[in-house]
Symmetry: C2
Subunit: 217 residues, 2 copies
DNA sequence: ACGGCGCGAACGAACGTTCGCTCTCATAGG
DNA sequence: CCTATGAGAGCGAACGTTCGTTCGCGCCGT
């Protein structure tokens, strides 16, 4: 529920932080192997080479560990999104942002963690609430970025920003999901395709009444 | 482990099938609410209004229920993919296929089930093995479709079929994932974008040759 | 001597599964 | 027509196991 307060004391020493990180790392290994709810505390203990009593000194519950990991994931995502605030064309920044995101997910373990967090977020859990909050923040950030792009004429003034944004995010997540499902999928060979997709999505829609399928001859 | 044999007898009466379906439906409701591994048999029993003993007459274990559901999901996916064998332009069929897929996922419950199956498939489980088998079959089907498209010149002869295919599938899954994460996401407003994305992905690098047109009404 | 860290046996609860029972109902024999 | 019979459907208390968590006690640096 509470994502900020440590278990017992408000102040944390560097060694405590290190220990916490050690436990979280062990938990990640276990969770990515079997998922949040099929991983037992005993397994995390074994992976971290600590006893239950030791771990419970740093985290109040198993859920607290899950929440801490979800938090880390969100912060990592936010840091990547901040690429959008750097200089460059909208298309370039979006592509760079996407590729950076994909780069951090090269490890199958990372994909599994991300998915686990996503799945957990869709349920009525503390993780879900936190996820929604972060998602809303990210959206505001992106809306500002796109609004500025409208001002400079990089995208049409009447573009449906929300849809464009969401579709791009959906695409990035989809590629990562596919990387997890099918390790053969080579994103590097897909890079030029990705670039074209970004261009295509940024293009403004034609007349609203036009049929969705364009006739090409 | 075994996806085909029923629990006790090889032959199944229509009433038995109906009962099985009833149990699976209850299980889906529970699973989409809390996930495979946080749903207890007791909950499924309550939802199905049956006792444990009753349910275990139809399924050998909880895992057997999960496997049956994963199987249903795969078969549904395959049926949608068969749109690709119908007449029409490649672009048209791909878009229709994607939109049909998305249509079946309008229900949040369906998205959650799909994701649950995906996550389970990434682990070393019986579901994972079955998933890999289906995935391989689907790939063969798609490779044939694309090979034929090359023959008719709908895509360039040197196009990287595997990458194109995977990227499109990734996109579809991504959109669905986003629909689950963010119920505000309105796919209908995204439809023209989706169409442009399909076009963009199908384009080979270099000069774009226009695919021939066959519209279906 | 003392505060903390860390241990690991032990706890109650909840899990998936089993098993012996009752009930139902189609059929056969009288 | 009635009733005996047997197979299967369904039940639910109970099983052994495993779960997340607790707690009292040694250990160690100061």
């Amino acid at each position: 529920m509470n994502f900020n307060a440590p278990h017992r004391s408000e102040a944390t020493s560097p060694q405590q932080d290190e220990r916490r990180a050690h436990i979280l790392d062990a938990a990640r290994t276990c969770f990515s192997r079997a998922g949040f709810h099929r991983t037992s505390m005993q397994e995390i203990c074994a992976e971290a080479k600590m006893s239950p009593g030791g771990i419970y000194r740093y985290f109040a519950s198993k859920d607290a560990i899950i929440e801490a990991i979800a938090q880390e994931e969100q912060y990592a995502g936010r840091r990547i999104l901040e690429v959008m605030l750097e200089p460059g064309s909208l298309h370039d920044r979006l592509l760079r942002c996407g590729l950076t995101y994909i780069e951090t997910m090269r490890d199958r373990r990372a994909v599994q963690m991300m998915l686990e967090v996503y799945v957990e977020s869709m349920r009525n859990t503390a993780v879900g609430a936190f996820f929604a909050k972060c998602e809303a923040e990210n959206r505001v950030l992106m809306q500002e970025v796109f609004a500025r792009a409208k001002a400079t004429g990089e995208i049409a003034a009447d573009a449906d920003i929300d849809t464009v944004m969401m579709t791009l995010v959906a695409f990035a997540d989809g590629v990562i999901l596919r990387m997890g499902l099918n390790p053969d999928y080579d994103v590097e060979r897909a890079e030029t395709i990705l670039s074209r997709v970004v261009t295509a999505v940024l293009e403004n829609e034609g007349p609203v009444t036009a049929p969705p399928l364009e006739r090409r001859e």
